[in-house]
Symmetry: C2
Amino acid sequence: MNIIIHDVGMRDGLQIEKDLIPLEKKIEWIKKLMDSGIDIIQMGSFVNPKKVPSMADTEQLFIQLNKIKKPSTVFSALVLNEKGVERGMSVDVEMFCMGVSASETHSQKNTGMSVSEATERIIAMAKECIKAGKKVQVSVQSAFGCGFEGKIPEERVISIVEKYLEAGIKNISLADTAGHGNPEKVEKLYSAIFKLDSTVECACHFHNTYGLGLLNCYTAMKAGVKYIETAFGGLGGCPFTKSPAGNVSTEDFVHLLQQLDIRQDIKLDKVIEIAKDTSSFFKRELPGMIYKIGKLREM
Amino acid sequence: MNIIIHDVGMRDGLQIEKDLIPLEKKIEWIKKLMDSGIDIIQMGSFVNPKKVPSMADTEQLFIQLNKIKKPSTVFSALVLNEKGVERGMSVDVEMFCMGVSASETHSQKNTGMSVSEATERIIAMAKECIKAGKKVQVSVQSAFGCGFEGKIPEERVISIVEKYLEAGIKNISLADTAGHGNPEKVEKLYSAIFKLDSTVECACHFHNTYGLGLLNCYTAMKAGVKYIETAFGGLGGCPFTKSPAGNVSTEDFVHLLQQLDIRQDIKLDKVIEIAKDTSSFFKRELPGMIYKIGKLREM
């Protein structure tokens, strides 16, 4: 089974951290992620540096690290608007990630636009990136439920996916920002997408809010999802609560994969090292389990 | 789907606690578990009180609580030997749980007997309990791997299960003491058992050592396992490490079930209350997630 790991810790993990992380530290973590054999590394996002200061050095990361990038690794970045695309183009980003929310409330709060306005805009941006020869991934946020609106009808997610497909964009991620996903929803939604088009390259992005992160990733994988988005240490979510509501932990997911004899090429020990180092850096325990307990060694 | 919850927190959770828990506290927790609608409550074990002081009051619990037990609740106890059965009979235990390890090393260390000697003895004990009109559950410990021996060949587990079935015992639990289970092993092992006899009443008992507890329970359930053993708060494992290697948390599993619209009759809030109270009592955070973050409320 060919599963691709997209580590989003540098972006979805660090964006909410109050401590500014020195550029050198970020470079060290990204280099280690690259050495571990993680396939795609999300370096940061091109957002207003005044609003998200921890992402202000995203250009610098691309400038310094594109020079030493391995051919087998892909560096991605999140963009929210045309200005972000422009900034990303200026530092030669290889893969652009962008998306819309399936929740009207979430969309309005995040972008000031309705879902359908936002979808139109994102599709235009995605097309521009594809035209420039870039890899592109589009996403549907709040695909499994919304912190504001609660349940999100499946049809709303599907109608956005249909628009992506009509525009010829086939790399599509469903994101579960609020952690409302469960295995039945996951199976149902991805099956519906694969029914629309069996050649879609599906990705998933789960948060572990209610402890179902690994279960949802596993279910997605079994349903045919190839790209799994995780964050080293299980970073993400609110750092001011003890509740581990971050992303699914990269090392925990890779550990599961390797128990199933999948992706033995990834150097799990290196990912564990990054999680340990991150935990020391932030002086707190992270939600990931394997970096604390060690991996299972069967004789 | 008719899923039965067997809470083993009072036994597998509390047996390793160094603090002696007052009888009144235990009674309070068991009463709350009963009120929540949990189906089977494991009250304790009949073991040498000098070796496991926290289980010394198991007789008292049955004497005091059998009087007020609801007809819909079952009280179970673990027994290791004939002396334990005798003690259990003297206080009218309704359901006897007993088992052998599939690992020779584990079996020798625990019982001083080989697996086949232990199996013979357990079957004799089980038959005696059945003859006395008792409910009986037999188990295979270390069914998914062993902390001492590593991999446990499937055939070894199956050969014990075959002996149970030949003896006419159909309520069979597979226990993953070391937390080595993964969804593929789980699916394979239970399928093999149901192939032997499709009418077996299977139970599962997973520890969350590597974060796969809920995933393994869900997979077992999908494979036809009806009895799921969990512990409130995710108690169990070693209390002297921060790593949450306890049982699967009852409230986390019930939360998952209710997300799937199963067992809405269980009063999840009551189980959460017990986990919170237990956390206060032990003055430490427990591994369970839902009691910390609250349950998902969709509008």
